[in-house]
Each structure stands twice: as C-alpha cells, then as structure tokens.
Amino acid sequence: MNKRLECIDAGSEYCPCYLAETGDCITCSILRGKDFCDCNWRGSCIYSEFVWNNHTKKDGRKIYSSKIVEKKLLSNEVYLLKIETTKTLARQLKQIGSYIFIRGKDMPHFFDVPMSVMESNEKEGYIYILYKTLGSKTKNLNLSDKILIRGPYWNGIYGLKNIKKLQNNNCLLIARGVAQSPTLLLINKIIKNNSVTLILDKGKLEDNLILEYLKEKDIEIFFLDTMKYEGKEKIKEILINKNIDFVFSAGSDVLHKNIIEIIDKINSNIKIAATNNSEMCCGEGVCGSCSTHLDEYGSVKGCKTQIDIRKLIKRRVNID
C-alpha cells in the first residue's frame, strides 16, 4: 500500500518538474512508474500536465541578478537585506513558507544558500531577508551590491495545511533567533481572523529583530528563553490559559522537539506548524541533501515535501 506524499509545487507553474522526467514525481504514481493513479489530489493532474507539455517538465525557476537596495547590520553578524526583485517574484514570495536561494554575485552555484523571506512588497518589487553569518555561504553574501537569487520556493514551513485552515483560532507563535524572520509573513496572514499570541526568544541574537515590524498589531507578546525550564513552564501556562489550538514553532529542531513534547502533554489535538530546517542545496528534490528517511514513506525530500513535523522530529532529533 502506497503512502501518498504532498509536494508543495504540485499544480504550480513549476509542475511538472525534473522529477517527472526522471520518474520520481513526489505526488503522481504514474510519473513514478506505477501503472495506475494513486495520488494525494491537489486539484490538478500532474500526469496530464506532463503529457500536454510533450512529456517534458515546465520551465524551471529563474536565476535573477538583483540589487541589494539596503544592507543593515542589526547586531553581531546579523544582517537585514532589502533586495530588489521583479514584482512577479515578490508576489510569488508573499505566501507563508516562501524562500529563495541566494549567493554572492561572483560565487559559483554551490554557494547557493536557502533564505526565508521575511517580508515581500509586490507593489514596489522588493523583499527583505534576515540572516546571521555562520559558514562559507553566508559569509560571501553581501560583498557587493549585487546578489543572485533563485526562486520562488515555498516549502519553508511544515504543516501549511494546518495554517490554511486557521479561522477564529487561538494561535501561539514561538519564534527564536533568526527564525523570527519567517514568522512575520505568517503573522500578517493570520492576524485578521485569529487571536495571536507571540513568544519571542532572542536565542543567540542580541535583540528581537522583528519587534519593530509588529507595532500597531493586535498581538500579545511574551519575551522568554524557551530553552530554559521557566520558559517551558510559561509556554505550558499560555497553552492552557489561552486555550491554544494552533502552535507555530520557529527555531531549531531542538526547539520543535521541546514544543511538541510540551503540547503532547497538554493536548495532542493542538495543530502544529514549524519551520523547515532541512539542509537544502538545490530545492528541486534532486540533490538529496534535504532527504530524511521516514518509516512509512522511505526517503523524503524536505525541500519540496510537506511532512508531518511530529514524524520528522522524532526521526531527526533522535539521530542528532
């Protein structure tokens, strides 16, 4: 019996992709070499699209040479970049979980690093990204005023279906360190129809970087160290007192694990979404750097596949 997986790109303008051509489509059983249909239906038939496209993939993502309009050193090694994009790309990057690959202008393609989009302005055509320099990729990002962007990609958050259903829910968002950045798109998306409580944890940073973007928003904010006992106790208290039914965890896999443990002790029916911390290189489900082996599914590509965060964390944190 096949377990069906959900590809974030299914039905988009980039579907079918290379994986259809190689017989490895995440969603379509026929494009995986099976004889018959057995997919996690997303409203369009990938096989049909593939045949109509002459048995080839659709055009892939473009690489844009973009201007860095603004560069701010926010605190120790943490940068905020405002990058010029086409209005189309900015629009495509408005959905929650959006990310892009970027690299310094003169660097070869293997310097591509995935970055969550913090804010996107489709009217004027720019995006903001926030990052901390850590390794060889990020150290080379802003050496000139030009940067190479590849995108849009969308699988930056696991549990998107839980987010899409939110309506009149009591949401708790827990954002730690630079993972505060993708939380902003989410806040903007859900704030109109839900009650939102936010926990900000500086993590290894000096400040809570998205604070200034939250002015005049109707959000109750707590400042905690989520890794400490007191922080965890406070999270428990908030979950119970505010009758929380949705939690977003933005941070490392260890944070995800802690939060899931707390939730499951209180009410395992609480819906969860979390940042996707897979290490990604190509974003197309090809290179394998983001692969995780899950019992029921085999090898799953994190860059494109929506995975149940509970299953993923169980696997990943145990290995770590």
């Binding site: 019996m1 018959f36 249909c37 057995d38 038939c45 045949v51």
Partner: protein, 426 residues
C-alpha cells in the same frame, strides 16, 4: 445497530444502502460528487433484453424501489432498437433528486462532496475510513461501490485524456480504490489488444441542438436511427467499447439516438465535425461528456476479488457491488449486485451465513459466471450484462431469459427467496 458505510453513491451504492437499511442497518452513503447515481445521471437504458428478467428478479427479491422509480420516470417504454427489445428509457434529468429523496425518506444518511481517501485497518477488518477533509468515519461493515472508472491520469494513460464526464474528477477529486488501500490487488480488465481498461461506451447529445424534426421524432418515438456517411464508418471503434452489447455492426453504420431526456448517442467519441455532417445534426453539441467527440472515461481498472455473496476476499467486513465487483455493464447489473451486498452486510455483521443467489436466477448466475470468467485470461476481456453479448446469449441458452413476470415471481417463491430483502434481520 449495525453501522454500514457505503462508499460511492452510484446505482450500486444506492441499492446497497436500501437493502442494508431494510435489513435493519444504520446506513451512511459517502459520495464524492454533489449528486448521487454517478453514471446513472447520463445512462437511462433499463429492461432491454435480459435486463427485463433481472429487473423482475430484483423486484421479486424485495429490491423494488429503484426499479419503480425508473419505471415511473421512463420517457419511453417497450422500445426496440437494433439488437435490443423492450427497453425502457428513464429520464436522466429527473431521476437523481427522486432517488435522493427516497433514500432520505428511508432515513439513510447521505454525505455528498465527501471523498474517502484511505482506511484504517485492524488486522483484517476496516475500522474507519478517512475522508479527504481528514475526518474519520467508523463503521461495522463497509460496502465499496466506487466503480472502476478514472481518475484523470488513468483516463489519459489508457484513453484519450479527461473528456470531462459526469464523474468530474478535476472538481471533486479522484476515485480511490478501497480494496487497494486495504492492500488487495485490483483486477484489471483488458481490451482485445491486451491494453488495460475500456472506453465508456455512450455519450449524450444536447437534445435542444438537434433539428426540430429530429427532436420531435425522438420525443415521440424514443429511438431515431440515422445513416453514417460511408466514408465515416469506423468498425474498429466497436472494439474499444465497454458495452459489448452495443458493439454491433449496426452501431458503426448507423447513428442510433435514444431519448433519455438528452439524446443518447450509441457511438463512442464521434468527432463533432463528422457528426455535424449528418442531416438533422448540423448544429449538434455534446452534453456528456462535454468533450464527447474526443474520448470518454476509462473503466475496469479496479475490480475487487470477491465471493459470490459479494464479500471481498481477505477483508472480514468489506463487501462490494457494481462495477467494482466485476466486469459488469449497466444500471441493472449495479442494482442487482449492490442489493445483494447491502443485504449481506447485515448478515455479515451478525455472523449469519451470507446469501448467495442461486444460479437458476439470472442474477445469481451472472454474479457467479462473472467470477468464474475473471479468473481466466480471456475472461479479462469479457464484459457481462443481461442486455446482450455473451451473457444474454447464455441466458437464452440455459433458459434464464423470461419476460413473464408471474413466471419469475413463482420461480422466486419456489426458491424461497421471494421478498427476502424485505426481511428485517436486526
């Protein structure tokens, strides 16, 4: 009370729900589209040839409701057309709301626009079905009447692509084979050339787009036969069709229209421009499938291995009916198999012996015969219907064909089966 979940609300599912309800079950039908009856919304032919016998058998067994609705809403009765006698043509534009009302009045729960995508099994039993909205539904016994048609990828791989038929997969999502989800391999039908599946046979023309004269004739007589221009006769196409009872030379050389509310065209995917060359069809449009000139749905891709009492092999609480249960063609065949599955669902839940219809009834014989044939290589290419082709020949040969209502009723009485579906078991 036994909770019976019927998956698929076509003719087979509706008939299963009715007999399960009569036997005392708490019955829920889950249907993926916004209408019951599935292909019954574009079919319409009843009582032709051996279907007359089968209809009377079902009525005698106690599954009379759906046949009564069809009879009452027939636009034409006792119609003959090439190879077929005494057909009734029900009005496809009226039938669905009437069946829905009947089921509701019988207190059968109907979930529309709900699609089963998976099951949860404990040992060899289905515990729950999972719907596409992620909700779950528990049941004691399950009946799969999901058919064997589509979805889009299959219709493309084995046919000419989605022709936008009544099943409307793009809007309501694909059919999911419950047996396959249970880990049971589907049996697949083949065409004469060995490829899988078969094209659904007929399509509908919008009656308003026929010439006034043709429309008038069709409304009055129920059947109109037109000549196909010689250069357009295509005998090969007959081989593609599901409905072997209509795979006759006449159906390639003639255009046969039946009045089922629309104008049922007994030829598969006749290109529109060629169709419009025929007198009276100059302005004609397809009604179902919308792209009826290009193709049609592909069927017989998902048959469950079953016993003659309709229980699916290797799953303790799953029965099947309709096209899911064999290479059957037609509404009557769906109702016959569905009714038996529904009745047996209650017996199964009580641990009673399941009813098997004897082979001296056409209904019992077709169920058993189809099951024998499906095990043979050649049998995968055969289709079974009371209405024609090999099975009707068999009916005539072994004396199962009758249009004598009294005789059929007496036969059931003699067998001790009269009104057996009417018995409340729990």
């Amino acid at each position: 009370m036994t909770k019976v979940i019927v998956i698929g609300g076509g003719w087979a599912g509706c008939s299963a729900a009715i007999t399960a309800k009569k036997a005392g079950g708490d019955v829920t039908i889950i249907e993926k589209t916004d209408m019951l009856l599935g292909l019954g919304n574009v079919g319409g032919i009843m009582r032709n040839n051996g279907r007359y016998t089968a209809a009377e058998e079902s009525i005698g067994l106690g599954a009379k409701e759906l046949f009564n609705i069809c009879d009452k809403n027939s636009r034409h009765k006792n119609v003959d057309f090439p190879g077929h006698k005494h057909a009734s043509l029900y009005d496809v534009n009226k039938i669905e709301p009437l069946v829905k009302k009947l089921l509701k009045d019988m207190d059968i729960k109907i979930l529309i626009c709900k699609r089963v995508i998976d099951i949860i099994k404990t040992k060899n039993k289905i515990a729950k079905v999972i719907l596409s909205d992620e909700s779950e539904l528990e049941g004691d016994v399950f009946i799969e009447t999901t058919g064997s048609t589509g979805p889009m990828g299959n219709c493309l791989k084995y046919g000419n692509g989605c022709a936008m038929c009544i099943l409307r997969c793009p809007s309501f999502g694909p059919r999911v084979s419950i047996t396959e989800r249970c880990g049971i391999e589907d049996i697949l039908g083949q065409r004469n050339n060995g490829s899988y599946g078969a094209f659904s046979g007929s399509c509908k023309l919008n009656k308003e787009t026929l010439s006034c004269n043709l429309k008038k004739r069709l409304n009055e007589e129920g059947v109109v036969i037109l000549n196909v221009p010689k250069e357009d006769v295509n005998l090969e196409k007959l081989d593609l069709k599901v409905c072997q009872q209509y795979s006759l030379r006449e159906f390639a050389e003639k255009i046969i229209l039946l009045d089922t509310g629309h104008a049922k065209l007994m030829t598969p995917f006749y290109p529109l421009d060629k169709l419009r060359k025929i007198k009276g069809l100059e302005k004609v449009k397809f009604e179902d499938p919308y792209s009826g000139g290009i193709g049609n749905s592909i069927r017989y891709l998902s048959i469950a291995p079953r016993y003659n009492n309709m229980k699916v092999k290797d799953i303790d609480n799953l029965l099947c009916g309709g096209e899911k249960s064999g290479f059957f063609v037609g509404h009557t065949e769906a109702i016959v198999t569905g009714s038996l599955a529904g009745h047996n669902s209650i017996r199964l839940s009580l641990g009673m012996p399941l009813l098997e219809l004897p082979r001296n009834l056409a209904s019992g014989d077709i169920i058993a015969y189809a099951n024998e044939e499906i095990k043979t290589k050649e049998g995968l290419k055969k289709r079974f219907t009371f209405a024609g082709s090999i099975y009707f020949d068999r009916m005539k040969k072994i004396g199962l064909y009758s249009t004598n209502k009294e005789e059929i009723k007496n036969n059931l009485l003699r067998l001790g089966l009269l009104n057996i579906y009417e018995d409340k078991i729990v």
